[in-house]
């Protein structure tokens, strides 16, 4: 029979604490929790199950992140654990936490605008829908910015420039 110690943090709680230390290798300003990709930590008795939702289908960081998560769980002594990749519901940049957005901005990456609701595929023009989103420069805060490239150094980012301070910067794509 096992005796539960009520004031000691549970295994699951300790796992969550350990996960706070796991940083996204491509955006090291953010932890995997701030990125919003860890969906659940479940105590399965012999095993801890960590449920992770990938950001982009082809993101090469996904495998590195999975390995780092397992290492962090081991280091915290709450393993053994197994990682389950869960695709649905699909990850959205809306899941990045408020603290995550602040840290992105401080790191020099403009945080993503809210994702517009798109229930169905439109039958009209597939080009521009609505007003262009306003992206504020993470350095000087000016909204006088323009897109340089719809794609950037990683799957999750686009490239912008600030027309006020003239610095280029990255923008986390809303998806």
């Amino acid at each position: 029979m096992s005796v539960s110690v009520t004031d000691a943090p549970t295994r699951v709680a300790r796992a969550w604490i350990a996960l706070q230390q796991v940083l996204d290798p491509e955006v090291p300003a953010l932890s995997v929790l701030e990125l919003g990709i860890v969906r659940e930590v479940i105590d399965r008795g012999a095993m801890l199950e960590i449920v992770v939702t990938p950001t982009y289908s082809g993101c090469p960081a996904t495998e590195v992140i999975a390995r780092q998560i397992m290492d962090a769980i081991d280091a915290a002594g709450v393993g053994p654990a197994q990682l389950r990749l869960q695709r649905a519901p699909a990850w959205s940049s809306d899941w990045i936490t408020a603290a995550g957005r602040r840290k992105l901005n401080e790191y020099g990456i403009a945080p993503p605008a809210p994702v517009p609701a798109e229930a169905t595929v439109s039958v009209g023009s597939i080009r521009r829908r609505g007003a262009p989103i306003e992206v504020a420069c993470p350095r000087c805060g000016s909204s006088d910015t323009s897109q340089l490239s719809a794609f950037g150094s990683t799957a999750c980012k686009a490239l912008y420039r600030c027309l006020a301070c003239l610095e280029p910067f990255e923008y986390f794509k809303p998806i």
Binding site: P54, Y56, S57, G58, C59, P60, Q86, R87, A88, P89, A90, W91, S92, E118, T120, V121, S122, V123, G124, S125, I126, R127, R128, L148, S149, A150, F151, G152, S153, A155, L159, K173, I175
Partner: protein
């Protein structure tokens, strides 16, 4: 060196074939887009084309992995993994529509094909996100967001080229006439489709026709181009009968795994 890696044969069960058609569409187009790495007309588009390829490879990986598991469940015995399915099939076991294996052409050709395929994929993924197969539905719900981003980017360029210089317009027009006959295959249905529609796995490809045409009509008119008439030609890549181009592509793509079986880094 010297060890020849023998080919594998995927399951012929209709659900596996249905998933492989889509997986191969993503895989082969990604391979073509990868050829642009270091060769696109401007750096931003070099990055855009290869990032698009990366998303497509991610989608293909998920679908191939799933096709391998489905194949085992359908009685093929072993679970073929994504790498075996991507690199060790014979040409006739690739089931992508011919459109995506055509050589990359110039930037106008690549851009227009990307717009055509991304538009088709947004409709396909949208349908598949309600698939009776939970894994397929999950892959689709993620992929539809990526496809929309690709679609908008490619569409912007189609208009820019069509509405650009006399040369860019002419090149886009040539691309349209070269590509158009191969789009018919994207809206054909056969027994594999019937099976998928009956089981709720996914739509008949013919069900995507109306939505695709509506969007392409608007896009082409914004680009100042007329939609070509439908001709009698039908390509047959998705039943494994390919153009001469796929063999060359596979030679390049499969070389490493054939020469160094199981090689990884």
């Amino acid at each position: 060196m010297g060890v020849r890696q023998t080919s594998i044969e995927p399951s012929r069960a209709p659900p596996v074939q249905y998933v492989l058609r889509l997986a191969d569409l993503c895989l082969i187009l990604a391979q073509r887009l990868g050829e642009w790495c270091g060769h696109a007309p401007i750096l931003e588009e070099d990055i855009a084309l290869t990032n698009t390829a990366l998303d497509l490879i991610g989608q293909a990986r998920a679908l191939l992995t799933h096709a391998g598991r489905l194949g085992a469940a359908q009685g093929c015995g072993v679970v073929l993994d994504e790498d075996q399915l991507a690199f060790l099939r014979e040409e006739r076991d690739y089931l992508n529509p011919t459109l995506v294996e055509l050589p990359r052409g110039d930037f106008a050709f690549t851009t227009l094909r990307n717009a055509m395929v991304a538009t088709w994929l947004t409709h396909m993924w949208q349908h598949l996100s309600a698939s009776s197969d939970a894994e397929v539905a999950g892959i689709a719900a993620k992929a539809v967001k990526e496809a929309r981003y690709h679609q908008r980017h490619a569409a912007d360029w189609v208009v820019r080229l069509g509405d650009g210089t006399a040369e860019s317009k002419q090149r886009l027009e040539e691309a349209l006439h070269e590509l158009w006959p191969y789009t018919a295959e994207l809206f054909e249905s056969d027994t594999v489709d019937e099976h998928a529609a009956a089981s709720g796995l996914g739509p008949r490809w013919s069900a995507l026709r109306e939505g695709w045409f509506a969007q392409m009509r608007v896009l082409l008119s914004e680009a100042g181009l007329a939609m070509p008439a439908e001709g009698p030609f039908r390509s047959t890549g998705r039943s494994g009968k390919h153009s001469e181009h796929l063999g060359y592509l596979l030679t390049d793509m499969q070389y490493l795994q054939r020469a160094y079986p199981g090689g990884a880094w």
